[in-house]
Symmetry: C2
Subunit: 398 residues, 2 copies
């Protein structure tokens, strides 16, 4: 890609971020009355469900903090981050510090804390908020919540785990994935030695769940072999692609903190192999776009929605490809970027209405939902990718 | 419909049942080695997951028993029913008699008994099997399992319930629905007085969850009002349509047992209102077929697969319409039957391979899965509808 192409990408991504996505969420999501973020938002921003998923609270805090930290020091962004950070600090936790999965608009707990990712995203949000606000309580919350997460990860669902003792114990890709993302955010919040230990553990697990050809499996046996049945064949290309840029960011983190290792080249090579392979198997050659799920052997996938095209694998792919191109200069990264970028911009931003993004398409690319935010779509993947792609392209253009 | 039309329907439904559907499941599903039924069956009948869902065990026992009882006294059908009935009797239960949700091929429990429908379908299967086999232990099992179901229904998910004490208690349509189906099968297994009490309770609840226009809601408040948010707007047209023929069968049961009531006409009228209204709102005027789920106000539905077309709402609709036409002679029932029947036969039976049915289409009617059986598709809705439609059409033709 030449300088003009890169500059055009910077302009396009930043314009959509600042004129489309951020204003939409700032106006419709930030709950000035009860705190936190409303995130079940229809096409026009109207709220079709006023309950609040905990995931979306932590993620929103992260995104508003990151905008303030990385894009511009706008008071309204810092203030919007505070609205979420303080809501999370409130009544959203049980006595053990576990975050409820779902709360009412005013924070009344509605669904038990059975999902460990709630803690991970809250820690992510508080860590970023503590950096931009300088408020030390937020760093304490991030640290404490990380502890809750680490305590829970052996049996993440706790008493809500429905697997019987006789069922196979599987390694899930979600834990190292979320932890590696956290590693990049927790510098300055936890001791450096602990951070390095967590990072090393993540990299080891990633090696375990990745096949020799780069396919990343959602579930493996503890020895890395694949379990029988659909779990062992289940691939989530978006997860694998997102993981690939977490790995690349880990190499950048080490470089930034003077901790570069001989193993860094290997990690970059692994990240690129994972990225390329999972794009290749995840891409729909007929209709374009990245499948949501795959059965690696082409057997029937248990999820009815497996062949849908969701926004987030595409946002993760454009950033993974831009960063990989920046770090390695590989031609195929730019070629794939152009392909994924074209599909993404054709289908997801709502260009009839300022540009906030739709999220759900069927295999052909027709929208199944008009909503801009939902149970699992908040203010996170889209602004993050827009921000990070623009940053990386800007560095390359210089 | 004239006699020739009805006879042609009888021939077509029975031929597909006897030459397509039953041979496929008899060959590929009945597990001669470990007992029970394999039901994750790919297009060619090969097993892509050898675990066994408890739902599909009870349902399979019911279907093989019903074939023997209603279609023909074939020993291989009775024997296939026994293979499931005895598997269920084995190690599939915990100490309290709750049935595990999922077991390994050999019956080893894999997933905890968090789902009350397992007991309901087992009771259905054992009751039918006890009638055709004359084995009294099966009637005892049906009775005991009904007791487990009745004990559990106040808090069906038990300790796996993730709703917090502060969340609204909702009335779910699933309980009266499954119970009303059971009422039709448990005559002779439980005392008649108890049966009538259960039936009366079901009818009362159905009144509660049905709007004045006939829309049947999946969830209502205990006073029949609709809860705020997506639960209160959630409609499952297939459930409502299936419920409508359970109501009609209840009227037939009362007539058959000499218990006809003045209220029967009202129940028939309610069943027809529910049937018509939920077909009208559930039908996709653009591409044909019945939507899987709806938001009654047209807001975004939380389920990604809401606009897919699944086999079972269509099988339930053809039978509900045929039976309604038989019982009331209404012209619109025949007109709707022809419409639903045409869509169903065009899309679901695999006519390139003897006629066992596919299950999953996207909104346009393109198959998303090639499988004939899956986690929630066993040997139940298709053969049941084929059998019952043929019976009803045959009575009408005479």
């Amino acid at each position: 890609m030449d300088k003009a192409q890169l500059e055009s990408i910077v302009a396009r991504y930043r314009q959509n971020l600042l004129d489309g996505v951020v204003p939409f969420w700032l106006e419709h999501s930030v709950d000035r009355e009860h705190g936190g973020y409303l995130h079940h938002l229809d096409r026009d921003g109207s709220v079709f469900d006023d309950r609040k998923m905990m995931w979306m609270q932590g993620r929103g805090v992260w995104t508003f903090s990151a905008l303030y930290e990385r894009v511009e020091k706008r008071d309204e962004w810092l203030e919007a981050a505070r609205v979420g950070a303080e809501f999370l600090r409130g009544r959203c936790r049980d006595r053990d510090g576990n975050l409820y999965f779902l709360v009412a608009r005013d924070g009344t707990p509605l669904m038990a804390p059975y999902n460990w990712a709630s803690e991970a995203f809250a820690a992510l949000g508080w860590a970023a908020y503590s950096r931009v606000s300088g408020e030390s309580w937020a760093a304490d919350e991030a640290r404490n919540t990380l502890d809750v997460f680490m305590r829970r990860r052996e049996n993440p669902k706790g008493k809500w785990n429905k697997a019987m003792p006789g069922s196979p114990k599987l390694v899930a890709s979600g834990v190292p994935m979320i932890l590696l993302n956290l590693v990049g955010e927790l510098g300055g919040v936890i001791e450096s030695e602990r951070l390095e230990l967590i990072a090393a553990e993540c990299i080891e697990t990633i090696g375990l769940i990745t096949g020799p050809d780069g396919t990343m499996y959602e579930f493996t046996n503890p020895d890395g072999s694949r379990p029988a049945g659909p779990e062992g064949r289940h691939v989530n290309p978006g997860h694998a692609i997102e993981m690939s840029w977490f790995m690349l960011e880990e190499v950048r983190r080490r470089a930034g903190s003077g901790k570069s290792e001989a193993a860094d080249d290997e990690l970059v090579a692994l990240a690129l192999k994972v990225l390329k392979r999972n794009l290749e198997i995840g891409w729909d050659e007929e209709h374009g776009g990245i499948y949501y799920f795959l059965d690696i052997e082409g057997r029937p996938h248990p999820a009815l929605e497996w062949n849908m095209k969701l926004w987030w694998p595409h946002t993760e792919a454009v950033y993974a490809l831009m960063l990989a191109a920046e770090m390695t200069g590989k031609q195929w990264c730019d070629e794939w970027f152009e392909r994924v970028d074209a599909y993404t911009w054709l289908n997801f931003p709502d260009m009839e209405r300022e540009g906030a993004w739709f999220g759900y398409l069927d295999r052909r690319g027709e929208r199944t939902h008009e909503m801009k935010g939902g149970r699992f779509k908040g203010f996170f993947h889209v602004p993050r990718a827009l921000m990070l792609v623009a940053e990386s392209a800007e560095r390359r253009a210089k």
